[in-house]
Symmetry: C2
């Protein structure tokens, strides 16, 4: 499976930060209800992709980290899920 | 508002661990779907109580930390929410 570098990530997913074989992004919403609504939509994307985030939430903030635990690397699965999350936020 | 000590927590909520002015507990499920279903129920409890957890999830594991950010202490709001989460897990 192809592995991705920090340079490739910054080109493909400019809103995500490469960190230690994974990519991360923090999302901020108006309140908890909006943050958790977003998490619910991401949960469904993740379940359908059979690829799940490491994530945390505190009130209106959601921090998502994506990495491929099985491969111990950043792989296409992570980039695809990140791309879907970005599209979801754009209302697409 | 009354503040609670580690000793009181261990009596009232034996499954939770007192840590740095808060209480924490890790929950483990069969898979992501079950873990997120639990999170959805906790999210509704939290929203109704207007008291929200700091929490993280990784596949089948959910880690919840409760503290009163406004009071910078462990207060009754935390204990009440923890009690409701415990009841939910007991199917009550």
């Amino acid at each position: 499976m192809k592995r991705y570098s920090a340079a490739e990530v910054s080109l493909l997913l400019p809103d995500w930060e490469y960190s230690n074989e994974g990519i991360e992004r923090e999302f901020k919403f108006q309140n908890f209800s909006e943050a958790f609504a977003f998490m619910t939509r991401v949960a469904m994307l993740a379940e359908c992709a059979d690829h799940h985030p490491d994530w945390k939430n505190s009130y209106n903030k959601v921090h998502i980290r994506l990495t491929n635990h099985a491969e111990q690397a950043l792989t296409e699965k992570d980039l695809l899920l990140a791309g879907k999350i970005d599209l979801l936020l754009m209302g697409k």
